[in-house]
Symmetry: C2
Subunit: 240 residues, 2 copies
């Protein structure tokens, strides 16, 4: 699918001048984007809190096809807000997710949050060595290493279904119970099954059903939940 | 869209035991995923090299709907392979992309690659200050700061269209000419226009047309191009 790449004669200024002439900050562009989503999104069988999460997931992908794939457990928003407000540690399954999470957004939910609150073991040398020895993915051992943080912690999956499957085992066999899980691994092997298994375990979650998922979706869901937690804080202190 | 989150009685072992019993490494799972994509993908009007790129983009999103949206300039694969083989610096528009890029894959294309080859200014203090002063997004000033690396460099966009628009201006007004561009910003404001403008400028590229895009797509395209560059290296040294 080749495009004609010959240089087209142009008239007028580069497009960026529109922005130079009427400056919009990153925040203003984000707000306008969310307004466009409100206008264009198809029907949405979501509560207010759920819709804030879905809207931000649409914002990060520009793909309205995701609307039908997002799943929430009963009480998901409340569980996530409580966990974030309490400053629960956050396990993440990839360094892309760690890099994408905004500390400012976390700290709007709970001032206790620091870079050390984010736990990612996938690049640790001991994890890599264990994975090589067993002939299994590193992400599996990264979850196992995070065992103590997963109990009452938040877990964010946007990459490997194997990581979610190992969490499922910890829940089933070792009675680990996370406070909240963002279950959005992506791919073609074990993906749908890993999510179906997880969603049967009675742990609060937001998930993307089926094969789809990804790091930006997981990050955007977390950021939206931070926003809801911050709104809750404002209510509590009467600074709405 | 609530799911019944009551705990379902389960029989048998957690799913992960299937993997314990027949271990598959991360690489083996990746290879099986790419096989599934080969089998399931719709018609694909791509060259061998282009298809390697698209296939990896499908792998990272599990979304076959992207097939129709990927665009290559004439000579895109050759330009990218030459730039990567030469160890060109790589500008990236987000820290998520920087975190997602595999140094091992880059070094398979060219041994010169190091962490310093990746240039990302979006979190720099001077960039933030300039953006605040102008009321414009940081990503715009991050591109401007990278000006000298963009000449004959590789530029990777998976986030803000404003960054791509500023690159367009540098190409049009300051005669900067990147060796290769991955043009996959995502969103709702200025996105389609930023890509249409860019694709008219005669610079080699792979892009996702329209509103869609994202960091994992940009990273996966780069990784696929690294693979093609590495294949080319093997040909050259006869170790195919």
């Amino acid at each position: 699918m080749n495009e004609d790449s010959s240089k087209v004669k142009r008239s007028g200024n580069p497009l960026i001048y529109a922005l130079y002439n009427e400056p919009m900050s990153g925040e203003a562009i984000e707000a306008r984007s969310l307004d466009i989503i409100e206008q264009e999104a198809p029907s949405r069988p979501f509560s207010y809190g759920q819709w804030q999460v879905v809207k931000r997931m649409l914002h990060t992908t520009a793909d309205f096809g995701l609307v039908d794939r997002v799943r929430f457990s009963d009480g998901a928003i409340e569980a996530a807000v409580m966990a974030l407000t309490g400053g629960c540690p956050i396990f993440v399954d990839s360094n892309m997710i760690r890099a994408g999470i905004s500390l400012a957004r976390l700290r709007a939910a709970c001032e206790k949050y620091s870079p050390e609150s984010l736990i990612c073991h996938v690049a640790d040398e001991d994890v890599a060595a264990a994975a090589r020895a067993a002939g299994l993915p590193r992400s599996l051992y990264a979850v196992r290493k995070a065992r103590s943080s997963l109990e009452n912690g938040i877990a964010v999956f946007g990459n490997a279904p194997v990581a979610l499957m190992e969490l499922n085992r910890l829940i089933l066999e070792e009675e680990i119970r996370p406070a909240f899980v963002i279950a959005m691994p992506v791919g073609f092997v074990h993906v749908t099954e890993s999510k179906d298994e997880f969603m049967s375990l009675g742990v609060p979650y937001v998930a993307v059903a089926g094969r789809r998922g990804g790091s930006p979706l997981a990050v955007s869901a977390l950021h939206a939940l931070c926003g809801l937690a911050a709104e809750g804080q404002q209510d509590k202190f009467g600074i709405q």
